[in-house]
């Protein structure tokens, strides 16, 4: 097999803890009430087009895109719109949501609900992008960037490679792994659709070597396609980052502050490829996703296919309840996820996992002084000096932070993971990114 490829700089290898990798994807019953937030994507929130008391069906458009970088939202359930009001999101802020009381499960007529596999792609690139846009598809890895925007390279730029992200480098999470095992055929068709939309001839599926079953399964499926290649990668966090994955699979480096299209690459998650298949071939908008519910104390670590808008506590109940000694509930993986403040928050398009940490493992250590051991600098995948930039941000020297390329930080948490002094480096890096971002925007205006 030779030496496996990976990205060049830094990286760490935390305990994988993929507890739910053998748990097949389960369907969760439709909840009694669905809370559908209007801001589910990176960029502008969507605008509601239904009113209180309206009857909605599954897959019906309920909110329109509120700008260029914004997406449509479709009803994940059928029933009556209870109200359009503020409800709690993951961070505890109350933001506008459409709350629907569920009544039955009636689907919109336009959606093909049969289970047949449709492999012929008989529409053109423009229409594919239009359908993806209408279906409200966003990056399913967690960043929730609208997919159709990525499929339209800016003038003068062309895409050469499509890179499919099946890395799932976050510990604990297994939703992409299970998707590849169970929905491999659909994903391959989704990849073909994306290749047609982008007009590229070569696609790579990057999968880390800790998922040998997924690698062999996907290899089997793409055997007849010379243009799609499965690329096994060495296990290294944060390989799932766009820039790291491009470096690992095609050995190109995205320049600082630029997008992957600059080096002719477009990266999409396997979950996105599946959603694209459903949207283009089945006319089914993005109304459900696979969420991993896991944790060392969880009785039944599982992967669930849930409707968007299902409250988190329904998922936790399905995984046989909240363990007694839960200290922290994290939306996402342990490295980049954020802890949530309430179990009432709904699953949104970007929810890839719910991680329940025990009290002992969740609390932070007491911060000590920096001893300049430079472990953070060794592991930084972007080649930054986290100790210096975070200190600059902490002390308010945003000019220094900007000059030291704070905006290149991908907030992967590798630096903080290995810090022997337990300094909350990422906290200050995030603070610095917020402040430097504000300064840069005000400079532009």
């Amino acid at each position: 097999m030779g030496i496996l490829r990976t990205f060049a700089l830094g990286g760490i290898h935390p305990d994988e803890n993929k507890l739910s990798s053998n748990a097949a994807i389960e369907e969760i019953p439709v909840p009694k009430q669905a809370i559908v937030p209007l801001g589910q994507n990176l960029g502008a929130p969507s605008k509601p087009i239904v009113k209180k008391g309206d009857d909605v069906k599954v897959g019906q458009l309920i909110a329109e895109a509120g700008g260029f970088i914004s997406t449509n939202i479709h009803s994940p359930v059928s029933g009556k719109v209870f109200k359009i009001d503020n409800s709690m999101d993951a961070s505890g802020f109350r933001r506008p949501c459409i709350i629907i009381n569920v009544d039955g499960d009636e689907w919109d007529e336009s959606v093909d609900t049969t289970k047949d596999l449709i492999s012929d792609i008989n529409i053109e690139s423009k229409e594919i992008i239009e359908r993806i846009k209408n279906a409200g598809i966003v990056g399913m890895g967690g960043a929730t960037f609208p997919t159709y925007v990525k499929l339209m390279p800016p003038p003068g730029k062309t895409a050469e490679y499509l890179i499919i992200n099946g890395v799932e480098c976050e510990p604990y999470l297994t939703s992409d792994h299970r998707m590849m095992l169970e929905k491999g055929r659909e994903i391959v068709i989704g990849i073909k659709i994306l290749m047609k939309a982008l007009n590229v001839n070569k696609a790579f599926i990057g999968i880390e070597n800790n998922k040998p079953d997924a690698i062999s399964h996907m290899r089997e499926l793409v055997r007849e396609n010379d243009d799609i290649q499965v690329q096994p990668l060495k296990v290294q966090y944060p390989q799932g980052g766009e820039k790291q994955l491009i470096k690992a699979s095609v050995n190109r480096e995205v320049p600082s502050g630029k997008l992957p299209i600059e080096v002719g690459c477009v990266v999409q998650n396997v979950g996105t490829a599946f959603a694209v298949y459903e949207a283009v071939q089945k006319n089914k908008p993005l109304i459900e996703r696979v969420v991993t519910v896991t944790g060392k104390a969880v009785k039944k670590p599982s992967n669930f296919r849930v409707r968007i808008g299902t409250p988190i506590n329904v998922l936790i109940e399905a995984a046989e309840g909240l363990p007694d000694n839960t200290g922290k509930i994290i939306n996402g993986g342990p490295m980049m996820g954020k802890s949530i403040t309430s179990l009432d928050m709904p699953v949104v398009k970007g929810t890839s996992g719910i991680l329940l940490l025990e009290k002992e493992e969740s609390s932070r250590k007491v911060e000590g002084p920096c001893i300049r051991c430079s472990k953070c600098t060794y592991v930084c995948p972007m080649g930054l000096e986290p100790f210096l930039i975070s200190k600059a941000a902490k002390l308010g020297n945003f000019e220094l932070a900007e000059n030291e390329s704070i905006m290149d930080c991908i907030e992967c948490g590798s630096c903080q993971y290995g810090c022997p002094a337990a300094i909350p480096l990422v906290d200050y890096l995030r603070l610095g990114k917020i402040k430097v971002g504000q300064i840069m925007r005000s400079r532009k205006n």
Partner: protein, 328 residues
């Protein structure tokens, strides 16, 4: 031998002295050529300023303010809109004297913290253990009590203050402003939630303000915090001076119009309106029925708890009890 040494000394002194003279002449001409005229008033004004270099006036330091003031006097004949909040009216008058202007007195201001969400009023629902920075915490989550407008209690305002005028109260977890406040506005800009506002100091430091900035509807606001403004508009109705406005379920008292009558404080059902530095209220005249029953005991000094308007004052009640005991 001796004469040779003398010669060397004389040559050295003469040579260096001559060189120095030539340089001095060159420098004299250069200095004249590139002379920058600076109004001597700028120095005088700078001298009169408090030299805090806090930036409260909107200029980067006292020198910049002095330049701006002198320029404004030259161009517009007044220094309206340029006031040094730290120096106050004394410095204002001094500047007027230097620049030969009539300077109007400004009302002294003070920073006011408009949140009362202590753990007692807004019980903790989650524990925060991230970086000690309000700006970061604000981007991360709503707050330990659940209110998304509440003070995060991590002290960005305290760090911003150059005058030792704002401190955290460890019991309530809220910042407290003391008399040293110069209204420079550093804490106002530092607060990511705009909780701190500059308000008029008021006569004898008496102030009335709504100690809440929660713009949610009454029910969710009250759910998270017992002293939140619920936008019931009772204060607006009772105000005779049109000083109270209600926007998005939040009352705001205009300190220019407020006459400090304290009517709004009494009617507020959640005690969200605060009065500061007022004398304790006189006991209200009791309702006729109650008066007849109580007057037999001649306990007029004891305020009636039934009225609900008067906060229980332990000293008075204790006194009352004492009276009863002596009578017996």
């Amino acid at each position: 031998m001796e004469s040779a040494v003398d010669n060397i000394i004389i040559i050295a002194i003469g040579g260096l002295g001559g060189l120095g003279l030539i340089m001095a002449i060159i420098l004299y001409f250069i200095a004249n050529k590139f002379k920058v005229f600076e109004d001597p008033k700028i120095d005088e004004v700078e001298e009169a300023l408090p030299s805090a270099n806090c930036g409260g006036c909107g200029f980067p330091g006292c020198r910049a303010y002095a330049e701006a003031a002198v320029n404004s006097e030259k161009e517009h004949g007044n220094i309206n809109g340029l006031n040094c909040p730290v120096g106050g009216n004394d410095v204002g008058q001094e500047l007027g004297r230097i620049l030969g202007l009539e300077v109007e007195d400004q009302d002294p201001m003070i920073a006011v913290v408009r949140c009362n969400g202590s753990p007692t009023n807004s019980p903790k629902k989650v524990n925060y253990e991230g970086a000690t920075s309000c700006a970061f915490a604000h981007a991360l989550y709503a707050g330990e009590g659940g209110c998304m407008y509440s003070c995060l209690g991590l002290g960005d305002c305290v760090d911003a203050c150059d005058f030792d005028a704002i401190h955290m109260n460890p019991d309530t977890g809220l910042p407290v402003v003391n008399d040293k406040c110069t209204a420079c506005g550093a804490c106002v800009t530092a607060c990511p939630r705009d909780i701190i506002e500059l308000r008029k100091r008021g006569p004898k430091d008496k102030r009335i303000f709504v100690s809440c900035i929660n713009q949610e509807k009454g029910a969710p606001a009250k759910k998270n915090c017992s002293v939140a403004c619920i936008g019931c508009a009772k204060c607006d109705k009772v105000c005779n001076f049109d000083a109270i406005t209600i926007t998005s379920f939040l009352a705001y008292i205009d300190f220019e119009k407020c006459t400090l009558c304290r009517k709004c404080v009494e009617v507020c059902p959640t005690s969200a309106i605060h009065e500061v530095n007022f004398k304790p209220r006189k006991p209200r005249p009791e309702k006729p029925k109650v008066t007849t029953s109580v007057s037999d005991n001649s306990q007029n000094t004891v305020p009636s708890m039934e009225s609900g308007k008067v906060k229980p004052d332990k000293s008075v009640i204790a006194k009352g009890i004492e009276i009863i005991e002596t009578k017996e």
